[in-house]
């Protein structure tokens, strides 16, 4: 019995190629018909991969044929640049995938959830047996260890998520925060949505065009404020998001200072994503005011990404250790009958078993 992985990912295939091999609901069964004792297909927006265990070698072309969509049957499957990993290399690849090292954004954690879901579904359908059970359970353990012992998932890597993370580091729970969005463009909408996703309930929108303000307010379940009234709002809001197309700064140090007099005990977080900037940079010198412009947000996102990349070596070391150990454990398992294996019966939660 040998373990193998055949697949396509964002590293070697464009989206057009990947979408031709997204498989179909019966793929697992088809794969078993092609000679695999166990098989599952991990499909995400960045990859299509088959993990299988077979007595005899199953060719990459056979796998590709199983994966190819029926509507694309006229396109030869061998035209796609599939990669193939066997045994230890297969384990190493899955450990890297589950840990987010092979992802487009290094350290992203969504892939782990997708892998768990795929494995669980294959286990319940009977497509995944004892060998894939061992492989995936170990992969989940490795991913958890990598996340715990390295900073690979540390920090946000997009401007919107950096802004929201910073807001949480200032205010904690955002549910009670009052937010004013100044400017009704696409960037404002994205930031407003990111804040809403973290629990903001009181969102106000102001724009020179009242109609656009009302439209955006309706989209984000907020309320529109007349443009002349926005300076007055600064007395009570906690977060200000500005992205207007004004040529001159709308908010200076002097006028903000007078607004802050009544709210000395409450911080004000200003996210200025306008170019040219809407807020005078000197405002950041005021006590309790935290001003971030597009460059500073981008710089933090870049720092986080750089930090994650620095952690890759540490993560690879953890993975290498597990690959060596897994190699030995799978060799031992291969010498035993499948009845002695650790594969849990359907109904028992394998994730809980791995936790134990």
């Amino acid at each position: 019995m040998n373990l193998f992985c055949v697949g396509l990912s964002h590293h070697n295939a464009d989206v057009e190629t990947r979408e031709r091999f997204t498989g179909n609901p019966e793929t697992d069964c088809v794969l078993r018909d092609s000679g695999c004792a166990e098989a599952l297909v991990l499909t995400t927006c960045n990859r299509v991969e088959v993990y299988g265990a077979a007595e005899a070698r199953v060719s990459t072309l056979d796998i590709a044929r199983c994966l190819a969509r029926k509507i694309d049957k006229h396109v030869p499957p061998d035209s796609a640049p599939f990669y193939r990993y066997e045994d230890k290399q297969c384990a190493q690849h899955l450990f890297r995938v589950a840990s987010g090292l092979d992802s487009m954004v290094v350290g992203e954690t969504e892939i782990l959830g997708q892998a768990k879901k795929t494995y669980e579904s294959a286990r319940q359908s009977g497509a995944a047996g004892p060998y894939l059970h061992r492989l995936f359970q170990r992969a989940f353990r490795v991913a958890k260890q990598v996340r715990t012992h390295t900073d690979i998932t540390r920090g946000a890597v997009s401007v919107g998520s950096v802004a929201v993370d910073l807001a949480e580091k200032i205010f904690g729970n955002l549910a009670s925060c009052k937010v004013l969005v100044l400017g009704a463009g696409e960037t404002s909408e994205r930031t407003a949505r990111a804040l809403l996703s973290r629990g903001v309930a009181d969102l106000r929108v102001s724009n020179r065009s009242a109609e656009r303000a009302e439209n955006l307010a309706a989209l984000v379940a907020g309320r529109a404020i007349r443009f002349e009234e926005w300076p007055e709002q600064c007395r009570e809001i906690d977060i200000l998001v500005t992205s207007t197309s004004s040529d001159a700064p709308l908010l200076g140090r002097e006028n903000l200072m007078s607004m802050l007099r009544d709210r000395i005990d409450r911080p004000l977080f200003i996210i200025d994503i306008a170019v040219p900037r809407d807020v005078d940079p000197n405002v950041n010198e005021l006590d309790g005011v935290y001003l971030y412009d597009i460059d500073s947000l981008q710089s933090i996102a870049d720092q986080s990404l750089a930090l994650r990349r620095q952690q890759v070596a540490a993560a690879e070391a953890i993975i290498a250790q597990h690959v060596a150990d897994f190699g030995q454990s799978i060799s031992r398992a291969l010498n035993r009958s499948p009845r002695d294996s650790e594969h849990p019966p359907v109904g028992e939660t394998p994730l809980r078993a791995s936790e134990l």
Binding site: T148, H149, T150, D151, R154, G155, L166, E168, K169, I170, F171, G172, I264, D265, P267, N284, D287, G288, Y290, Y292, S296, S299, I300, Q303, L307
Partner: protein
């Protein structure tokens, strides 16, 4: 024997400091249970030391500067054990342990463990006054630590330079709420200690009374400024550090004066 317990206790706190320092230097600070466990163990040894010393003296072990420092370090650890989980467990410990090491280390090294000349008579009011005041000091110490955490976090947010510790520190508003609670808690205990001082039945040196009232006025001013929104959270955090430094100096003064004025 009792000093050995104290040395073991200090080693426990030192282990927490060393681990935090090593992790910070490697830029991979991770919260964990190690600090909490190390401090918990250190606290047990501190308690054992104070218990043995108290048993030998037949009263609360607050008869010299050495015992005062150890009792203060014990109070800091006690308050941390009580309120630590409210903050992020290990991180509060990362800041608490160095303070305890400083207090205990100084007490162990400096020649201040001088046995009190003559047996001191038991005075429950005096013991209550001294112990409750020192526990209040423990709360002020934790407020000071929370103040340091606030200023570290605030500085990073202002300068836009985020270090690995940034992701483990609690949000500014949570830290400020913790500072406020600790200040009120410490102030209430300290007031109780101050009032009970008038019932000890012994004439107190005016310097001690003036110093004790000075500390009370200092913290009352911080709380008043915070309550009436005269001070920004950053200023309150800074005042907590200044206040505790001043209070510690005054505590030294009180104990030193008491030792100087005790009959030979």
């Amino acid at each position: 024997m009792d000093r050995h317990l104290l040395i073991v206790s200090t080693i426990c706190f030192l282990a927490a400091v060393a681990r935090t320092g090593a992790l910070l230097r490697a830029k991979k600070f991770q919260p964990g249970r190690f600090n909490f466990l190390a401090i918990g163990l250190g606290f047990i040894f501190q308690t054992a030391f104070l218990s043995i010393r108290g048993h030998a003296l037949g009263r609360c072990p607050l008869t010299n500067l050495f015992e005062v420092f150890i009792f203060l370090a014990w109070s800091v650890a006690l308050i941390y054990m009580l309120v630590g989980p409210v903050y992020r467990l290990s991180l509060m410990g990362a800041f608490t342990a160095p303070l305890v090491v400083l207090l205990q280390g100084f007490a162990l090294i400096a020649p201040i463990d001088q046995p009190h000349p003559g047996k001191l008579p038991a005075n429950s009011w005096l013991e209550f006054h001294a112990s409750i005041s020192l526990i209040a000091y423990g709360a002020f110490a934790l407020a000071c630590i929370a103040g340091v955490m606030y200023l570290v976090q605030e500085r990073q947010l202002k300068t836009h330079h985020l270090h690995s510790i940034f992701y483990h520190l609690p949000p500014l508003t949570d830290l400020f709420a913790a500072i406020t609670r600790l200040l009120w808690f410490g102030f209430a205990l300290y007031t109780l200690g101050l009032v009970s001082g008038f019932f000890v039945g012994q004439p107190l040196p005016w310097v001690q009374v003036a110093c004790a009232i000075g500390v009370w006025v200092l913290y009352a001013a911080i709380l008043q400024g915070q309550h009436w929104r005269r001070f920004s959270p950053k200023r309150v955090a800074a005042l907590c550090i200044i206040g505790f430094s001043a209070a510690l100096t005054l505590l030294w003064g009180i104990t030193f004066t008491a030792q100087m004025q005790s009959p030979p």
